[in-house]
């Protein structure tokens, strides 16, 4: 189908974008890569009065990899992150995940921040944001605020962002260089949204785990961090048996729904197996 009528407004600066969003008082949507928004328009599931296009804002482009954080502007595309070999070397979970988003043509347009704002519970970037405790910078005419990933996602395709706010950037704190990280997911077909995805970060010292993080996507209406499984790992010696145990704990903690793509039992089982695998890969990558 075709998109319904809307007014196309190209923002000329971030301030202008916020003014436009205020002008339409909640009835305008930010247009970034359009890879989630335009399908919604074409299906007539969304019918905003206006689209505020931020693609022309050079100030929101690009990404910067610092010593301990990755800063990503609001019009930085998935593909730009995918093609930076330094990100893959510094935090492989990001590279693992981004390569599994849709297809190259989707990644050429779709943005990191757009994916976070869209908040699909099976999507990679919201999961990575939870895994790494990302911080989002949101701007409205009234001013700017910083929102932590843990407080951002509040339901299926739903966030605490006000419709008059635009996210200008996201910052991902990176785990220590000596840590290991991985993102593993399962989809029925190459490029599909994952049924379940698991991200893991592990740090070790003297043969034992000093810190571990686990995030699971596709099992709830937001990505979830599984603290109970992380506790199993703390202080323990890394190994297959331990990772299998953490997987079992994850299976007891998640409460997925059944849909045409897979039933709850299957998703829970996937979460268990993928947790074990992600932990093994992350531990292997830890120095």
């Amino acid at each position: 189908m075709k998109a319904p009528r809307f007014e196309y407004r190209a923002a000329t600066s971030v301030a202008h974008a916020t003014e436009l969003l205020a002008e339409y008082d909640g009835d305008a949507k930010v247009l970034a890569g359009g890879q989630s928004l335009v399908p919604l328009l074409n299906f007539r599931l969304s019918n905003p009065a206006a689209l505020v296009d931020i693609n022309g804002l050079g100030e929101l482009g690009g990404h910067r990899l610092g010593a301990d954080e990755l800063h990503v502007g609001a019009v930085c595309r998935h593909r730009e992150i995918e093609r930076d070999p330094q990100i893959a070397a510094r935090c492989p979970a990001i590279a693992d995940a981004v390569a599994q988003i849709g297809h190259v043509a989707i990644r050429n347009r779709g943005t990191v921040v757009g994916s976070i704002a869209h908040a699909d519970p099976a999507a990679e970037w919201p999961g990575l944001a939870m895994l790494l405790d990302a911080q989002f910078t949101a701007r409205a005419v009234q001013g700017e605020r910083t929102i932590a990933a843990g407080a951002f996602f509040d339901g299926f395709l739903s966030t605490v962002l006000d419709p008059t706010e635009v996210i200008t950037a996201v910052t991902f704190p990176l785990p220590p260089v000596a840590s290991g990280s991985a993102w593993i997911e399962f989809a029925r077909r190459h490029g599909d949204f994952a049924l379940v995805g698991v991200g893991a970060v592990i740090e070790c010292a003297d043969e034992s785990i000093t810190s571990a993080r686990i995030v699971v996507t596709g099992v709830s209406d937001t990505p979830v961090r599984v603290a109970a499984a992380e506790r199993v790992l703390h202080g323990a010696q890394p190994g297959e048996a331990l990772f299998a145990e953490a997987g079992r704990v994850v299976a007891t903690q998640v409460d997925p729904i059944s849909d045409i793509h897979g039933d709850a039992t299957y998703r829970r089982r996937l979460a268990q197996v993928l947790t074990r695998r992600a932990l093994a890969v992350a531990a292997d990558r830890a120095a």
Binding site: A3, V38, P39, I106, R189, G191
Partner: protein, 173 residues
């Protein structure tokens, strides 16, 4: 809104509604019906065009967003270098029977052009991953993969050296 853009090497100006997709603009206003519309939500890849050399779904981009940019459709590929004046990727698809009904073909050809501009000698696995975003309901893909291998050979032979410039958008036309 009146927009100007470069389509297949020529500057064009068209009047479009804000909500007109680039695909509809190319097909209905500019007569470039090689842009095929299958799903209109980004899944099938039939509408793939190159925007400044990078593959995009033209069903998910509004024509107004292409203003000031360079668009390449399958009609703009033939560069006289291959058989019958075709682009080597087109020649290879023809020679290897990489199509049956042809609905998916323009998208696959353009996706292949982008791939070979980035990597002149992709592995079989890379080719499969790259083309998985373009649905073909006829061929079963075997002949398409053969066509991509052949195209890579033809393009390498044409450029004379093994290496083509990385990400070379210019090289695909």
């Amino acid at each position: 809104m009146r927009i100007s853009m470069e389509v297949n090497g020529r500057g064009v100006e068209v009047d479009v509604e804000d909500r007109t997709s680039l695909a509809d603009c190319l097909r209905d206003r500019l007569g470039l019906t090689g842009v095929h519309l299958g799903c209109e939500h980004g899944v099938c890849g039939a509408c793939t065009v190159l925007l400044d050399g990078s593959s995009v779904r033209s069903c998910l981009l509004f024509a107004v967003q292409a203003a000031g940019h360079r668009v390449t459709t399958v009609e703009g590929l033939a560069d006289g270098a291959g058989q019958g004046g075709l682009h080597p990727v087109q020649t290879a698809f023809m020679a290897c029977h990489g199509l049956q009904c042809g609905f998916c073909t323009p998208g696959l050809v353009l996706t292949t052009c982008e791939l070979l501009a980035e990597d002149p000698a992709p592995t079989a696995e890379e080719v499969r991953a790259r083309l998985s975003g373009n649905l073909c309901r006829c061929t079963g893909y075997v002949k398409i993969f053969e066509a991509v291998d052949r195209a890579a050979e033809l393009m390498r032979a044409r450029s004379g050296t093994a290496a083509a410039p990385a990400g070379a958008a210019e090289d695909t036309r």
